[in-house]
C-alpha cells in the first residue's frame, strides 16, 4: 500500500488494535521494504502480479513456500509458479531470505489490506494503445532540422559521385580557398549556435525560487514522491510516499531526485506525451530539475535509465489540476 493516507490509517489501526495486529504491522513494514517495488495490493500489476486477495486465490501452504523460496519452486517446475513466471516477463521473483514468521506476517498484511480495500485499477495508466501525437513539439523542429541537413549531405555526395562521369583536373588552389570559406562559415555557425543554446540549459538557476519542492526517490522499480527527503530504505517507513502526485496548474515545481540502489532516469512527459524534462536519479546524489506545469492534464513519468528487468515498467504519474 503506497497510498500515504491509507498507510497512516493502517499504522493507526496497528497501534490501536494492540497485539492482535502486531503481526500485520510488522508485515506492513516488511512489505514496504521488500515487496512494494514489485507488487501492489489492489492497485494493479507492476513487475509482479497485484497481490490483492492472493490469499483467496492460492492455498496457504503454496503461498508460504512460494514467498520463502520462489526460485526453488520455479526450478522444480511447480505448474502455477512456472505459469506466473512466464506471464511476468520471465522475471524470477528474488529469494528475499524470509523466515516463516516473516512470511506469515506478510501474508497476514496482504489479507488485511485486501479485506479493507477493494481492488482499484491504478489511475492515470492508459490501458488502450493511444495514437501517435502530431509532430509539433520542439523535438519535431529538431527532426526537421536534421532531415534538412541530411538531404544537404546526400545531395552533395550524389553530386560529387555523378561528377566522375565527366572527369577533369581540379584546380586545388580554388578548392582550398573554398575550404577556407567553409571552415570560417562552419566556425561562425558553431559559435552562433553555442551562443544561442548555452544560456538555455536546464540546470537550476540560483536566482529564482520554485513554487513547490517535491522529493523523488527512485529504486528498482518505482518512483516515490514525498514532501521530505528520503535517504535510505529505512526512511521509507517514516516518510509518507506515493507514486502519484497532484499539482496545481501553472506551478513551477522543483523535483529533488535521488536513487536508493542503481541509476534511474526521471523523465517527465507532457500532456502531449512528449518528453518535457528529465534528470538522472543517482545513488548518493540529489539532482534538482524544475518543471513549469502550465496545462492541466496527466503527465506520465517514465524511467529513462536502464535499471534491469523491470525498467520499462517503472513509472509514476503527475496530475495537474
Amino acid at each position: 500500500m503506497r497510498n500515504a493516507a491509507a498507510r497512516i490509517a493502517l499504522l493507526l489501526a496497528a497501534v490501536t488494535h494492540g497485539a492482535a495486529t502486531a503481526d500485520t504491522a510488522s508485515g506492513q513494514v516488511l512489505f514496504q521494504q521488500k515487496c512494494a517495488a514489485c507488487h501492489t495490493i489492489g492497485e494493479g500489476d507492476r513487475i509482479g502480479p497485484d497481490l490483492h486477495d492472493v490469499g483467496a486465490r492460492r492455498e496457504r501452504a503454496w503461498l508460504m513456500r512460494f514467498v520463502t523460496d520462489p526460485q526453488a519452486m520455479i526450478a522444480a517446475g511447480d505448474p502455477v509458479a512456472v505459469r506466473l513466471y512466464e506471464r511476468y516477463n520471465r522475471i524470477v521473483m528474488p529469494n528475499l531470505a524470509l523466515d516463516d514468521t516473516q512470511a506469515s506476517a506478510l501474508l497476514a498484511h496482504i489479507d488485511e489490506v485486501s479485506r479493507q480495500h477493494p481492488a482499484s485499477v491504478a489511475v492515470g495508466v492508459a490501458t488502450a494503445p493511444m495514437p501517435a501525437p502530431a509532430l509539433r513539439s520542439p523535438q519535431s523542429a529538431i527532426l526537421y532540422g536534421f532531415i534538412a541537413a541530411t538531404l544537404l549531405i546526400v545531395t552533395v555526395f550524389v553530386w560529387v559521385a555523378r561528377s566522375t562521369r565527366d572527369p577533369a583536373t581540379v584546380d586545388t588552389h580554388r578548392a582550398y580557398a573554398l575550404r577556407r570559406v567553409l571552415f570560417m562559415a562552419g566556425l561562425v555557425c558553431a559559435i552562433t549556435v553555442l551562443a544561442l543554446t548555452l544560456p538555455r540549459t536546464p540546470y537550476v538557476q540560483a536566482a529564482t525560487t520554485p513554487d513547490r519542492v517535491i522529493h523523488v526517490t527512485a529504486r528498482q522499480f518505482e518512483f516515490l514522491f514525498s514532501d521530505v527527503a528520503v535517504d535510505s530504505t529505512g526512511d521509507l517507513l517514516n516518510v509518507a510516499t506515493s507514486d502519484r502526485i497532484t499539482v496545481a496548474a501553472d506551478t513551477l515545481v522543483e523535483f529533488r531526485v535521488t536513487a536508493l540502489d542503481v541509476n534511474h532516469g526521471f523523465g517527465v512527459y507532457g500532456v502531449d506525451r512528449q518528453l518535457l524534462a528529465q534528470t538522472q536519479a543517482m545513488p548518493g546524489y540529489v539532482n534538482r530539475v524544475r518543471v513549469h506545469f502550465r496545462e492541466p492534464g496527466h503527465y506520465p513519468v517514465l524511467c529513462l535509465e536502464y535499471c534491469a528487468a523491470g525498467h520499462h515498467l517503472m513509472r509514476a504519474g503527475i496530475t495537474v489540476e
Binding site: 555526395f157 540546470y203 525498467h311
Partner: protein, 473 residues
C-alpha cells in the same frame, strides 16, 4: 595482384560470422518491441547487452585488424601479438556468450555502476562478464601498444603525429592513414586504461565491499565507451584515406591542415565524452559547458578537413566505381549524417529532450552501421577482389549496395522518428501512451532484415571472390 594475409582473413571471418548473428539479435529486439515473438520478451535485455557489447567489440577489432593490415604496408607489427589479439578476443567473446546465455546477464553494454551488482542475474554472471572484459581489455591494450611500437620503430612520436609538416618539412613522408592510426591508438590506450580502472573498482567492491562513487564511475565509464566507439570510427576513416586514392587515381597526402585537424581531434575527443553526463545535474556545471564546446570542436575539423578532402578527391576524378569504392564513399556519408545527429544531441538544451530516447541509437547506428561497417566492408571488398575482376559485375555490386543502403536508412529513419516522439531507448515493451513506438519498431525490423539480406549476399560474394583470387595466385 593484391592478396589478403592470413591474419586479416581471420579477422574478416570473425566479422562475417559474428556480425550477422548480432544483427539478428537486433532484429529480434525490434520485433519484440513491436509486440511479436512473445516467447523472446524475457530475453530482451540479455540480448540487448550481448548485441551492444558484441557489436562494439566486433567492429573495434575489425577496425584494429584492418588498421594492422594497413600498417603492415608501411611498418612491421608483430605477427605473434596479432595472433594473441585474435586468441584473446575469441576467449573473451566465449566468456561473454556464457555469461549472457547461461547467466542471463543484462546490465547493458556499458554496464553502468552499480547495476551489474543489482540485477536479477546471478552474481557469477556479473563476475564472468567483468572477467571477460578484463581479458578483452588486456588483450587490446597489448595489441595497441604493439602497433604503436611498430610505428615507433620507423617514426618518432612527433613524426607519427605529423608535427614536422607544421615546420614545413615533408620528410619522412607520413601517410595520413598512419597519422590517424597513431591518434586512434593513443586515444584507445587512454580509453582502455579508464576501463581497467572501472573494472578494478568493481573488483574492489566485490572483494572488500567498498562501494564507489556513482558519478565518478559514470565519468570513467563514458570516457571509455565514448572514446572506444569514436576511435573505431577514426580507424575506419583511415581505411578510406588509404585506399580511396587507388580508385580515384589521385593522391591523398598528409599536409599541415590534415595534421592540425587530427591533432585537434586527439586533444578534443578525450573531452567530448562529457556530453553523456548532461542529465547528471550533480556534475560540475563548467564540465557540462565544456562538453558542448568540445563536441562541436571535434566535429568541425572532421567535417571540413576529412569529408571535404574525400569529396575533393573524388570530384571529377577518373573514378573506378565498384563495391569497394561505393561502400567507402557511402561510409563517409554515413559518418557525416550520423555526426549531425550526434552534434544535435550534444547540444545541452536539445539533450534534455533527446537523452536516452531512441534518438541516441538512431545517430550511433547511423555512423556505426552506415559509417564504420560500410568502410570496413569496403576495405574487405577491396582486399578480396583482385583488380582484374574488380569491375566484373556492376549489377551485382549495385544490388548489394542498394540493399545495404536502403535497408540501413529505413531502419535508422524509424529510430529518428521514434526519438522525435520521445520513445525511450532500452524498453522491452512500450506503454500504451507510446504505442506508436511499437509501430515504428515493426517497420524497422523489416528494413533491418533487408539490410541483413544485403550483408549476407555481400559476405558470401566477398568470400567467393577471395577464394577464386587465392586459387589463381
Amino acid at each position: 595482384m593484391r592478396t589478403i594475409d592470413t591474419q586479416t582473413a581471420l579477422w574478416m571471418a570473425v566479422t562475417f560470422i559474428l556480425f550477422p548473428v548480432l544483427a539478428l539479435l537486433g532484429i529480434t529486439m525490434r520485433t519484440v518491441q513491436a509486440g511479436g515473438l512473445e516467447a523472446m520478451a524475457g530475453w530482451f535485455y540479455p540480448l540487448m547487452t550481448l548485441h551492444g557489447v558484441g557489436m562494439v567489440g566486433v567492429w573495434y577489432v575489425a577496425a584494429m585488424g584492418c588498421a594492422a593490415s594497413v600498417l603492415a604496408r608501411h611498418v612491421a607489427p608483430s605477427p605473434l601479438i596479432g595472433r594473441i589479439a585474435l586468441a584473446g578476443t575469441v576467449i573473451g567473446v566465449l566468456m561473454l556468450l556464457a555469461c549472457v546465455l547461461l547467466g542471463r546477464f543484462a546490465a547493458g553494454w556499458y554496464f553502468l555502476y552499480p547495476l551489474p551488482l543489482h540485477g536479477e542475474w546471478p552474481l557469477w554472471s556479473a563476475v564472468l562478464f567483468l572477467a571477460s572484459l578484463t581479458v578483452l581489455g588486456a588483450t587490446w591494450l597489448v595489441w595497441s601498444l604493439d602497433l604503436l611500437r611498430a610505428i615507433a620503430a620507423r617514426f618518432t612520436l612527433a613524426q607519427a603525429l605529423g608535427w614536422h609538416y607544421l615546420r614545413g618539412q615533408t620528410e619522412p613522408v607520413l601517410p595520413p592513414s598512419l597519422l590517424i592510426v597513431t591518434v586512434s591508438l593513443i586515444a584507445g590506450i587512454a580509453a582502455l586504461v579508464s576501463a581497467v580502472i572501472v573494472i578494478v573498482l568493481f573488483a574492489l567492491e566485490l572483494l572488500t565491499g567498498t562501494s564507489s562513487d556513482a558519478l565518478l564511475m559514470k565519468n570513467l565509464t563514458f570516457f571509455f565507451g565514448h572514446t572506444l566507439v569514436n576511435l573505431s570510427m577514426y580507424l575506419g576513416v583511415a581505411l578510406a584515406y588509404e585506399i580511396l586514392p587507388d580508385y580515384a587515381g589521385r593522391p591523398w597526402k598528409t599536409n599541415p591542415v590534415v595534421v592540425v585537424s587530427w591533432n585537434t581531434v586527439l586533444a578534443i575527443v578525450l573531452l567530448a565524452y562529457l556530453h553523456h553526463l548532461y542529465m547528471d545535474f550533480a556534475q560540475p556545471g563548467g564540465l557540462q559547458y565544456l562538453g558542448q564546446v568540445a563536441s562541436y570542436a571535434s566535429a568541425l575539423p572532421a567535417a571540413i578537413v576529412t569529408i571535404f578532402g574525400a569529396l575533393l578527391l573524388v570530384y571529377r576524378a577518373t573514378m573506378r566505381w565498384n563495391l569497394a569504392s561505393i561502400l567507402l564513399f557511402a561510409g563517409l556519408a554515413g559518418w557525416a549524417i550520423g555526426g549531425i545527429g550526434a552534434v544535435i544531441d550534444s547540444t545541452i538544451s536539445a539533450n534534455t529532450r533527446l537523452h536516452n530516447t531512441l534518438w541516441v541509437p538512431a545517430h550511433f547506428h547511423t555512423y556505426m552501421l552506415a559509417g564504420l561497417v560500410f568502410l570496413i566492408a569496403g576495405y574487405f571488398a577491396h582486399l578480396a577482389r583482385p583488380a582484374a575482376t574488380a569491375d566484373a559485375s556492376p549489377r551485382r555490386d549495385r544490388t548489394i549496395a542498394l540493399l545495404l543502403v536502403g535497408g540501413a536508412y529505413g531502419f535508422f529513419a524509424m529510430f529518428y522518428l521514434a526519438g522525435a516522439w520521445s520513445i525511450p531507448r532500452r524498453f522491452a515493451a512500450y506503454p500504451a501512451e507510446l504505442a506508436h513506438g511499437a509501430t515504428t519498431a515493426g517497420i524497422a525490423a523489416a528494413f533491418a532484415t533487408l539490410f541483413l539480406a544485403g550483408f549476407l549476399y555481400y559476405a558470401l560474394d566477398t568470400v567467393r571472390q577471395w577464394r577464386t583470387a587465392t586459387r589463381t595466385d
